[in-house]
């Protein structure tokens, strides 16, 4: 922004290097924030964004380089020193105590004006002032566990403002918010910047970065890959900086004629872990040759729905699940898989792979007992190794060997192993949950192209994702799930982000 030249530099980091055993998390990083601007740190998982900010907040000490605050060199050795220097941080993982009230959480760690007694009434008044001034609506007397994720985040911001932070760091604040909550948050953040505060925003979601930032610095493998502004950059150019090569952000989809319903769900009700219905009387058809995207904020029954389809969770009487004409409502997972169902679970490390097994063992986890992989009752090691090597190559899995323990691969490569395994059976119905969560852009791009291939084969593909961009890019039709129900099914040609966002939040009725 043009105004930024005239304002003061609030924080400046010069030549910061931070090493961990085996990794250099930050290498010779220069970074600064001025009063009145949002400077975004963009980068893939593991690029070193959180580490750099933890140095600002005194959680880590830099191995090399210097930090200047308001022009003065400063050595921040702990969070309390950071807070004293008017630096606030909203962590990627919230640091709230759920059984305590909002006011108690805010007061935590501060000395009371009425020691040894608490001054919670005073704290509450001040919180109300702050929330009024910044549009951060929250009731100081509620316990934190009652709050939604979006509200908890507001409490974190209030905590920082209560301590009079001039520099505010937000580490991936939008990861768990609905699109509407993100919009609200951005309005709040803008207002804070206009008050003259400096703000560091961390994200890896490109459209958010373009919407909020004044300046953008991209980190890749711990180094600064470049700095730019939203005016000069495009989403594509940012992605290129993040990954270090050309990437296709919107997957290319050819025209495919859709066939009959291959997966039909009627009146499905599923009881969740809390004993209450998580999926309520849901009906849905997925056609051959289409990708049906299920959009929704997590916790609205998607997990229970997917588990019911995969045969991992009981369904209530009255509902039916049919696959290619066969009633599979009460069939085991094995039977469903034999009928042509493939399942990419949302919790990759828990449900997708056996962490202690090798890449190869995980690749044959489903069909290790098939004729292809057994010989006279024994596992046909040669055939398994040959096929695994092929699959690793075919899916561009980066692994030293096929015998490497899967847990030592990156999230993206683990997901490629899961995809390779699930797609190798040429499934008729593919159920993919959060297929690219925590996955680097390069792998995500690859996984998307593989999902799109399934359309051309005539498979029915169901993609459950919290990432609206992913759904918009992949799906032919979008079903929005809210509180266990499909509240709307929209053709993706007519889909509008805002409308889907409102549906996800349960605001819009159809």
């Amino acid at each position: 922004m043009g105004t930024s030249n005239t304002t003061k530099v609030l924080l400046e980091m010069r030549g910061i290097t931070k090493r961990f055993p085996g990794v250099i998390a930050n290498e010779d990083v220069d970074f600064d924030v001025r009063n009145g601007e949002v400077h975004t740190l963009l980068g893939e998982n593991g690029a070193g964004k959180s580490t750099l900010m933890k140095i600002v907040f005194g959680l880590y000490q830099a191995d090399e380089g210097e930090v200047l605050l308001r022009g003065e060199p400063i050595d921040i050795r702990s969070p309390s020193e950071a807070i004293a220097a008017r630096i606030g941080m909203v962590h990627q993982h919230f640091m709230l105590v759920p059984p305590l009230t909002v006011a108690e959480n805010v007061a935590l760690g501060l000395s009371s004006s009425r020691r040894p007694f608490t001054d919670l009434a005073k704290v509450s008044t001040r919180i109300s002032e702050i929330s009024d001034a910044h549009g951060l609506a929250v009731d100081p007397s509620t316990e934190v566990w009652r709050l939604s994720v979006g509200e908890r985040q507001r409490v974190e911001i209030i905590k920082a403002l209560y301590r009079d932070a001039e520099l505010l760091v937000l580490d991936e604040p939008t990861a768990v918010l609905t699109p509407q909550e993100v919009d609200d948050l951005f309005v709040i953040l803008r207002r804070m910047v206009d008050d003259g505060r400096g703000l560091i925003f961390i994200s890896h979601k490109l459209h958010e970065v373009m919407a909020l930032s004044d300046r953008i610095t991209v980190l890749r493998d711990g180094r600064v890959a470049g700095s730019t502004t939203p005016a000069e950059a495009t989403r594509e150019s940012l992605a290129r900086m993040m990954v270090g090569r050309e990437v296709r952000l919107t997957p290319h989809k050819g025209k495919v004629t859709v066939g009959d319903a291959r997966l039909s769900i009627r009146n499905l009700t599923v009881i969740g872990d809390r004993g209450t219905p998580a999926v309520k009387n849901l009906s849905l058809d997925v056609l051959g040759g289409e990708i049906l995207g299920i959009a929704g904020v997590s916790g609205n029954g998607q997990r229970e729905f997917a588990e019911a389809v995969a045969g991992l969770r009981h369904t209530e009487p009255g509902g039916t699940i049919t696959m290619d004409g066969a009633d599979i409502t009460t069939s085991s997972t094995r039977v469903r898989r034999n009928l042509g169902l493939a399942y990419v679970p949302e919790e990759r490390m828990r449900d997708g792979v056996v962490a202690e097994f090798s890449v190869s063992e995980n690749l044959v986890l489903v069909n290790h007992g098939s004729r292809e992989f057994t010989k006279r009752g024994l596992l046909a090691t040669g055939a398994i190794r040959r096929r695994s090597t092929e699959m690793v190559k075919q899916f561009a899995v980066k692994t030293p060997t096929i015998d490497t323990p899967i847990a030592s691969l990156s999230g993206g490569n683990i997901q490629k192993v899961v995809m390779a395994r699930e797609l190798s059976a040429s499934p008729g119905v593919l159920l993919a949950c959060q297929p690219t969560r925590g996955v680097d852009i390069g792998s995500a791009e690859y996984i998307h192209s593989r999902l799109i291939e399934q359309r051309e084969r005539g498979a029915a593909t169901l993609v459950v994702s919290e990432d609206l961009d992913e759904i918009l890019g992949l799906a032919d039709r979008i079903a929005v799930m809210y509180e266990g129900e499909i509240v709307a099914i929209i053709d993706s040609a007519d889909a509008k982000r805002e409308e889907i966002g409102l549906l996800m939040a349960g605001v819009l009725e159809t």
Binding site: A355, G377, L378, L379
Partner: protein, 376 residues
């Protein structure tokens, strides 16, 4: 690599530590530790006959140990070796009593199979209870041990008691001498080395093959590491948990049949105490398995070591007038050292590998998953 070597050295160090404590105990009892060691070695390996006795003592430990290893790989703890041995021995005994005139080539396989079946049944019960009713298998297998000891005492004092014992009025709880056609043939003349030793070693090798070369073992290990991922891949977790305990029990039952038909008396006999018939092989087998790193093949040498300790202790008593119970104490010491070294071992390995656990880095990618009340 380095961490692997250190990892396998730790149990040996633990055993050495146990022997050091044993040496101190000998000193306290007024005997020279060196003489003690000599007596044990001499008793265990001093002659062909003694070597054979050691092998025979090791036999049930190999079988039970291999079974424990299989169960453990499926993350099931089988403490029911004692009961499973008894079940196998009883069924094998009943078969030999019912069909005493079958030729050896038929009867020997039949009683061994009977033993295996008896053990399988006793293993499958806690297996089914754990898999389908979430009954803790440690508790249920221990309970079944108690039940089986009482059941055996009842049978050997009543329905199965040797008629001669009733006639003589001594009423020792034992069966009559069983058909010689069922006796396990001696392999080396003049020693007690019998076919059962070979059966046990072969069974341990098969256990290894099942675990690492067969689809069944693949599933057992998958279920042991991650029941969730196994289930999502279409593996029947409950069934495989049942299999794990059933197979484990099968090996124990086989050990029971071998104890009966490899015995000098050629009969099932007890003294009324809990370990009267088994000689605590069901528990010592666990020790052998732990010391063998819960690997069926390593269980073989490990069982020989404990077999040697047991036979050597007899010599210790004879030569130095030290109670043979010292061997039991040594056994216990090895267990304590090996088990506590397991923690120590993982600690050392984590230092050597010097990297945060991969699960932790996965958590970094999954924000808020640790907050109660928030589903991600």
């Amino acid at each position: 690599m380095l961490s692997k070597i250190v990892g396998s050295a730790v149990p040996v160090l633990a055993a050495l530590a146990a022997f050091l404590v044993g040496a101190v105990m000998l000193l306290v009892l007024g005997a020279s530790p060196l003489d003690g060691l000599k007596a044990i070695l001499d008793g265990a390996f001093g002659s062909g006959e003694r070597l054979a006795a050691t092998a025979v003592k090791a036999t049930p430990l190999i079988l039970v140990g291999a079974g424990i290893s299989i169960a453990f790989r499926a993350r099931v703890i089988n403490i029911g070796g004692e009961g499973q041995i008894i079940a196998g021995a009883l069924l094998a005994t009943v078969i030999a009593l019912a069909l005493p005139d079958l030729p050896s080539v038929v009867l020997i396989p039949l009683v061994l199979m009977g033993g295996a079946i008896g053990g399988t049944i006793l293993g499958a019960i806690p297996g089914v209870l754990k898999a389908y009713a979430s009954v803790n298998e440690i508790l249920s297998t221990i309970m079944l041990n108690l039940v089986m000891v009482q059941f055996m005492n009842f049978l050997l004092r009543g329905p199965l008691i040797d008629p001669l014992e009733i006639a003589a009025g001594t009423r020792i709880p034992q069966t009559q001498r069983l058909s010689d056609n069922a006796a396990l043939p001696t392999l080396v003349e003049g020693t007690r080395l019998h076919l059962g030793v070979v059966v046990a070693v072969v069974a341990a090798v098969i256990a290894y093959i099942v675990l690492w070369r067969m689809p069944l073992g693949f599933r057992l290990r998958a279920v042991g590491h991650s029941p969730e991922a196994a289930r999502a891949a279409g593996i029947n977790v409950e069934r495989n948990i049942t299999y794990a305990l059933a197979i484990s029990g099968m090996l124990g039952g086989l050990a029971g049949a071998i104890l009966v038909f490899g015995s000098e008396g050629q009969r099932m006999i007890t003294d009324g105490s809990a370990a009267g018939f088994t000689g605590a092989a069901g528990f010592n087998g666990i020790v052998a398995a732990l010391f063998g790193g819960l690997h069926p093949l390593w269980t073989i040498p490990s069982a020989f070591l404990f077999g040697a300790l047991l036979t050597g202790a007899t010599q210790l008593q004879r030569v130095l007038q030290i109670p043979a119970a010292l061997a039991v104490a040594l056994n216990g010491l090895v267990v304590i050292f090996v088990i506590s070294s397991a923690r120590f071992r993982s600690y050392i390995q984590s230092i050597i590998e010097k990297r945060p656990s991969n699960r932790a880095s996965e958590d970094l990618e999954r924000p808020y998953s640790k907050i109660p009340g928030v589903d991600t």
